[in-house]
Symmetry: C5
Subunit: 364 residues, 5 copies
């Protein structure tokens, strides 16, 4: 990928709140006017300790029968279509501001309590091996008494292991409530921060060697890119801590006592991610210092070679030039030993004393 | 725009508290003595759920009939004329310090509670596409039981969408009280921070490429300008957070419970703006490092070329100079193969060994 | 002023606690032994809503009649003479530590509550246009039930506007108590911070241009001096915030409820000063970066010129040198077109290809 | 050790959470599938004031008889085998998340209270004299009513002095409860931080001299390595403070009042370690500045030599070149005193004035 | 003092906890085994308002008669001998951890409350004029109901003024209790921080001039040394603040109400020391920037001289070289005016245009 494209790609991450909402009343959704509404797939999993049902719905109306059952229902929505969000909002009684927040990407992770549900905005990070960069995707969660709604920007997520556990009944997830499901989803998200950190750690290690050797002139750009990734990661992970802290200490009945111990665990993981991000940031800042110092040292070495050669030969050239002059009265020119002894001996003396001088200066 | 002018323009933003008030008692207003008082337009909008009336008033006295009606009244004043502020102050019972604060531009955003009203000072920011810079304008708000007063430095603002919604009755604004109107105005102001951030983000992206390529020598000045804009933005947005936090937690009856949830939303947006400003500040600081490292690398490359050429040819010139000397007794000059074989073969050996040396040093 | 003198002058500000008190018991005053005690002028203003009396006293005993009147009495003392302070201390019942603090310059601004009075230490800052520097002067205030004492290091202060208002009865000051007078004095002090900031802001703007152009080699020293001024300003203004915060929240009956709102106002101004100092500090730090980057860029430009010239002409000189050699057998020398075609064409080819190379490197 | 290997070695420390757990349900242990389960040695010490018994167990079942005795039992487990941890977990009733945390290396030090036991994760640091680096090892402690369990990554630890005291009965350890034993283990761990700091302090001192002399070009890499060690140390020691603070203030009956005073002592030591790490970090950052400044100064010296030589001899060479030209009409060439007086006198004048110029510039 | 020795000396300050205590149980004292126990002088002063008795004791047993008298007793111990500390510990009932802390130098200043006494660890700093460095010495204080014990590392301290006041009865010290004595000792220690700061301030001022002039190449090392001194000072003085804050707010009856006001005073002084240390740290960091910028500017000046000379004379040498060639067919050589007009006029034109070019670049 060219440097220019990398910069572009990163640039587009700086602010992810694309649509101009300044002219809309608070709580409005943005409808893309052209064409028929996109068909957004709703993936429903309904389970209790004994079984798990999986469906793909076309409309939210099909989810209604599941809503009031004693089982736990998880509906995952890929794509932030205004009509779909509004329909879901009506069905589950979501506040207009919640609906707006779900659709507005680039939100800061947060946890808000509403009387009937908790609203969570999280940031899902993935490390793209090919482009060697991070991609962020907003995932909004609604935790209700017996249901969880998850809204993603686009298909593809980190929840596959949770689905597998729901299908097979492995682990505790089927025997516990919607709050444990929400916890499992957050845990999956936080676990992927570690994967991202591993990728970034490998980059740091590889850049460390390159920063010292400098054979590759793009190293400065790559260190800069790494620091930006870490800045973005930091902006994403610090609020996750607040989210989890709020969730853990909430007195909402939606979070049961037995799940709080799990939330403390994922909270600890988040702190660990933050610690590592901060340590990585320091190291990345150190990389540039390292590189600059290496460049400086190398420049010094280059300058020394130039200075040694020039300091030795420029005076010698002058003396050679002197005896290349065409004055008629230059008695030295006629002396027999002037060239072999006088000139060359003089040269040897000059060069020797210069070499000795350079050695005292520790340039050789 | 010349560099000098840009610096001037920025400079004038550093401190915006222009008038010398050191000699005035606290709570005084500054009257510009020359000429008749400027006629300041008062734009009044009076509305309830069913209708909205719009007027342009010449004197504040004309607003009196609206004051005691059950409808909500919004009076917007463009320009900070002492007489107008004093007249409004008397009509609405504003404390002398409030009147002084309204007139003194360059205030820090803040929220102060008075028995009968809340006094808010906010900073409206706009990104000027042409000059690529930010302009700040102080907007003071008075939130009373059934009225809102807004004072601006000059005509032109970011409230047009709110006015449009008041006229058309779109959204909730007409059905709710003066507190919701105040919220809407603040929301409009905070939304424009995002617009400003988008502009600055685009600047960062474009400077990123330039910092590496350096063809443009003004890049240092532009990075410096960007950092100053971010410093000013930061100074403006951090107090906004305190303002909103105070407003949200106030126990004044002027802010109803239903509006607090909206205030929490705009508070979240402010936090997000702060996060982004801090991230941008880091990136801008990184840009200078990037640029310096790139300059350093480039200097190194320049020095290497100089050193290679000089190191090869300065000794050669010396040898050529030696055989240009006019000593009578230089036996080599008479040897037949001295020039084609002796001299050139020597040259080839010297150059080859130097090239080999440079290659081991990885300079080639 | 020479650089050396500026450094000296600044140096003397670093620590202002001159006298060696390590050998004295706590609460001692330092008596300068040589000569008779300096006569320190005591300026007294006694006022109530209806009148204001102004006197210059020779001894504190003359102030006694005013002490118990229902009017408010302000005594200003210029110069920190031990005997005077001790006499006043006895008359007004000041704690020995307070007396010591009044005399010890270089105190940190603070607010201490004693049963009968409040003791305030403040820092008065003035911007010296000529020397372009800040001067700090300690002003101690004693706020009693119906009197205010102010102690200054030397004559000349920022209180003239307050005196004028006392004389003319303009503003509220004559109708209110001693606490409002103390507030007015602090307000005058804080207002002068803004004046100082304006001076420093102008320095930043002017240094900004110079940092980029470098024609003036003293720019580094001046940036350094500016940063030191800001460091000292910062050390002075942060404790002022604590002082005002303490004063505002004190439950001492000496501060009336109606004055607290004014104290909140001057507290806000102090916060604003702090914000601006911090922003200026960032900008001043940025100035040095700016300057170093500009120097670096300029060095690069210089090196490029050197490298281009040397890289072109050093090899050419070698070739000219070759054909200036005196070997007898140099067949080229005899060819008719060797000089006009062979030599010059070769030169043109070499120079052209080098220029083309430099252009691909973007050095031209 | 080569630079590359050192980087590798350090790299592997950056993230120590090796195994990919993203696909496992929370609370799972990782079983290495190939081969029979490793046999993990369990070292048991059972003691009271009068005696101490030492055993090496093969299975946890053998520990059961000790569990309910009134004596204190310490079981140390080297190696994090899933089956062993699970068996111990069952025997002592450990929460699945605790079991998972014990096995997951790279945990952040923390203290968690469970109804029947306290769970502590600590970081044991050791300074490797040979490789001049730090190695971290996770040690998990379970503090029960009359037992302590300690889990280590591999054999070899810092607890030998504690064992010796248990065996000989020296000090208080045998007369006190399990909480004092846990304290002794933590104290041993914290004491080793001081040993590590001494090693790092010696590195700083030796690098300080090298940074100034630069004869060794690897100094930059070594400073960088030192800063990374300090970053890792910092990441490890800050959470230890929280751990000890929690432990000291816990209201769990597992920590007796008399032990809290000892915990305060080890807490103080941790603060001292943190202080020293922070001071070292500053010094290490200063080392790079020192080195860069030294390199810069040295480069300046090199440049001066080059400039002096080149500035003197390049013009002289030109003049020698002029009189080496072969124009037919160069009248100077025929003057008798042109060479000895005209030429050499001119040279002497030029060189003298240049030397005088350099002296005024303080380059000589 | 050589650079190497200064580094050594500083190095030894980095960690002052010399003895390896990792193998000792907590609360142990280290006995130096070789030779008979050192005889440690115990200096006793016993006083009340009317008299003061001074004794030098050989054993602590001699102090017993003074212990239960109503007078205040101060025992100062120079040297940290294990036997002496243990004997005193037994006599005054000191906790084993307190005894260990007294002996372990390099402790962090702290204040610990025990039922019968307060235990204070402080850091006494002295500025060594000769070596221009700071020396730290640990002073432990035990404040009992009617006695104060002070333990120092070695003879020589800052308490002489306090002793003088005790002997002469000057000041309040003889009329007040043991708490006032303890305060006086702490006050003497804090007063010496100011002396140290004055010494460092003078160093900053002198380094400021040197950083700009660079004639002295050791300036980098000295700035680095200064920064280390400030780091160590900072590590020492910050905990003093906590100590005094704890002491002031303690509810121990050992500290009387009337002494708390004095403790507030010395607390304020400590804050002032901290402020100054932080300001100095900033200035010292700025010094290196200043120096690097000055070096950079100077390098730029050197490079310009080289570039101007080389750029002018290298092309000229080439042209002189051309007409020094020995081609047979060089028609210019035979033209009469070629040398005086053609050559020299060409030279003048080339030099003039180059000088003009340099002037447009502002290099001249």
């Amino acid at each position: 990928m060219s440097k220019r494209n990398r910069a572009k790609k990163r640039g587009s991450k700086l602010i992810r709140r694309k649509v101009d909402k300044t002219a809309l009343p608070p709580g409005s959704l943005i409808r893309e006017t052209a064409g028929p509404p996109a068909k957004v797939p709703l993936a429903l999993i309904d389970y209790d300790a004994s079984q798990a049902t999986e469906r793909t719905l076309d409309t939210i109306a099909q989810a209604l029968p599941f809503k009031d059952r004693p089982t736990v229902t998880w509906i995952n929505i890929d794509g932030l279509d205004a009509d779909t969000i509004e329909a879901i909002g009506k069905t589950f009684g979501l506040h207009p501001l919640v609906q707006e927040d779900i659709q507005t990407i680039g939100q800061r992770p947060k946890c808000e309590e509403y009387p009937d549900y908790l609203f969570l905005v999280t940031d899902m990070v993935r490390f793209d091996e090919a482009g060697q960069g991070l991609t962020f995707e907003q995932v909004s969660l609604i935790l209700g008494p017996r249901f969880v709604l998850s809204f993603q920007e686009r298909p593809g997520d980190v929840f596959e292991p949770v689905r597998a556990r729901l299908r097979t009944g492995k682990g505790r997830v089927r025997t516990m409530g919607a709050d444990y499901l929400a916890y499992s989803l957050i845990d999956a998200i936080v676990d992927h921060y570690f994967t991202a950190l591993e990728g970034l750690g490998a980059q740091i290690e590889s850049l460390e060697e390159q920063a010292l050797s400098e054979s590759d002139p793009t190293v400065v750009g790559r260190i800069h890119g790494l620091r930006q990734e870490l800045s973005l990661m930091r902006r994403s992970v610090w609020p996750m801590r607040d989210l989890l802290s709020t969730l853990q200490r909430t007195d909402s009945p939606l979070v049961s006592e037995s799940v709080r111990i799990y939330l403390r665990d994922v909270y600890d993981h988040t702190i660990q991610v933050i610690d590592t991000v901060e340590t990585f940031r320091e190291m990345a800042a150190g990389l540039l210092d390292l590189h600059l110092a290496a460049v400086s040292n190398r420049m010094n070495a280059v300058m020394k070679v130039l200075t040694i050669i020039a300091t030795i030969f420029i005076p010698l050239s002058f003396f050679a030039g002197v005896y290349g002059m065409n004055f008629e009265h230059m008695p030295e020119l006629k002396w027999t030993w002037a060239y072999p002894l006088g000139f060359w001996a003089f040269i040897v003396v000059v060069v020797s004393s210069m070499l000795w001088y350079f050695r005292t200066k520790k340039w050789l």
